[in-house]
Symmetry: C2
């Protein structure tokens, strides 16, 4: 209760995980970064404030945080996953702009009408193909301002 216990600490313990030093350092980095980071990115940043970390632990912790619902994992399509801290437990729906040159990812708010159309399509597929859609993903591949 004395400020140092962030909301996600309770969540992690609640999922049965231990709150270890490497985990806290990784969370610290993730929490104070705003972009979508690769495991390697996280490793490099954590290494600066806690040189003992192993890359293995970074991967494991990242997966653990995804499993706890604290972090989102994004497949950028370039063979390297990206991770990002959620601001809220229930992330609002959004899409991604992915730069084919530098790999940067921009979150874009979901347009209401587009969102509705996707939902309608999803309902249709469950009927037409007996395919249970779980999670629709819309990505716009292209080139960001500095790469185009």
């Amino acid at each position: 209760m004395r400020g140092h216990g962030r909301w996600f600490h309770g969540r992690i313990r609640g999922c049965g995980y231990r709150l270890t030093l490497p985990r806290m350092k990784i969370i610290e980095v993730l929490n104070s970064s705003n972009g979508h980071l690769s495991a390697e990115d996280v490793f490099v940043k954590v290494h600066r404030i806690y040189p003992a970390v192993g890359l293995t632990t970074v991967y494991r912790t990242l997966e653990m945080l995804v499993a706890s619902g604290i972090v989102v994992k994004i497949d950028a399509g370039d063979g390297k996953a990206r991770y990002k801290f959620k601001k809220t437990l229930e992330e609002e729906p959004h899409f991604h702009l992915i730069c084919k040159k530098c790999g940067n990812i921009i979150d874009v708010k979901a347009d209401k009408e587009l969102e509705k159309n996707i939902h309608r399509a999803k309902e249709e597929y469950i009927k037409r193909y007996r395919f249970k859609v779980d999670n629709p993903q819309l990505r716009f591949y292209g080139y960001c301002e500095s790469c185009k």
Copy 2:
């Protein structure tokens, strides 16, 4: 001109590539399969009718066919690319239903309105984020009839 020269033969030669035996066998397999195949899938099928193929050649030929515009390459998000013969040179826009269990991919026709909405979003991003969208991709991850 005697039937045995399929349309894509001219296209391959036209792009400056040689028409070799392994390439023809790979094309034969691709042309007579209807799903979205992984390089490994193609390798196994080709190996049955032409045991001398190397996996390397399968990868190279697949890329060559993509470069020639004869085959489409799809990133299923599971680390294994899928390839599919185009029926027509200009593929009509469509989306994918991807099974998270078995990896199968179902092509779904693009709904006109949804398609238009995506296009509108794309135009907006170029203005708002100075991000030049090249290729929007909509995927519906979930479970197919036999996996759910």
